[in-house]
Symmetry: C2
Subunit: 193 residues, 2 copies
């Protein structure tokens, strides 16, 4: 396998764009080569087969959607209260709105995972590890709420992101920012109690 | 256009199966004919073009996922409290788990809507009308909570359904039934307050 890391990243970026634009069924080595503007046959030097391309693309999306460490450090100077959790959820929504293709490609991979047990195992591992890390972080830092709070927050944010990225007008005047504010306020226990 | 309603329903049922199995890009008149086991060319007598097929399939999914009136009448004998909302959410999850293909096909249509403005307008209208009807029903019947409660419940259920249908092992021991119980308990205001 060819090992130029810049070229590998360019190919997985191209795979994300193809997934978002064409769907999982449109993702071929040929489409990735065309999208990346590289000679035909390049992708086949970087990925053992289509499953390998799907797995590496999933990991690359995960990497692209990771918070910016500078933004995170700045946010984490505040006390561990509801306001900080709200700010973290707004940052999550901002990152995803800035990388629509990345999140839409992940939804395509989720649907493709219903057809491919290996991809399903791979994505399950990645997303489960991240959810467990979020739970451990939330509890370790002393944010309000328990394990269940974090899982419910994750599910509601998933629903909000799916709705906002695919059919944004459904929510109408209930804009995503106001919905995030309400969600954290209603799901996290009142610190005064 | 041919008008045999039984055949039309069989063709849109076949379109749902093709969408769930092959993705939006696999949905062609030919694939629908094959899936429905009808002579080649039949689907083209029932749908003006591919957009018409997508729109009619979206409406048919909506129809398939509608609650059973008998089940609903039985449930609605109970008082309008949290326990009844919980029972309605369990019924929703049961209907979707019983019609995986219908809900997965709707997710495929949501992703296809990011590429087709007309489909996006069509799906937005259908889903928005249903959400507004749910809000009006919730408030009219005097269930606990306000408009925002219903929207947040809808979003969290969407996230739970997407997770459970695509990567069910992510939630692990936090099974969907227990998550629904917690969700309603934490999102709906405490009736004792």
């Amino acid at each position: 396998m060819a090992q130029n890391p810049t070229r590998r990243a360019a190919l997985t970026d191209a795979a994300i764009d193809v997934l978002a634009r064409e769907g999982a069924r449109g993702l071929t080595f040929r489409a990735v080569d065309v999208q990346a503007g590289v000679p035909a046959g390049t992708a086949s030097n970087y990925f053992a087969n289509r499953d390998d391309l799907l797995h590496q693309t999933a990991r690359h999306i995960h990497h692209r959607l990771t918070p910016d460490p500078t933004v995170l450090t700045e946010l984490l100077r505040a006390p561990r209260d509801r306001a900080l959790v709200t700010a973290l959820m707004h940052d999550l929504m901002r990152r995803i709105a800035d990388d629509r293709a990345g999140y839409l490609a992940m939804l395509e991979l989720r649907l493709e995972a219903t057809r491919r047990p290996e991809l399903r195992a791979e994505l399950t591992g990645t997303i489960r590890d991240e959810l467990e890390a979020n739970i451990a972080y939330h509890l370790g830092e002393g944010f309000p709420g328990d394990r269940r709070t974090v899982v419910l927050l994750y599910l509601a944010m998933t629903g909000l992101i799916v709705e906002h990225l695919t059919l944004p007008e459904v929510l109408g005047s209930d804009g995503p920012a106001a919905l995030i504010d309400s969600l954290v306020e209603r799901l996290l226990p009142d610190p005064a109690v």
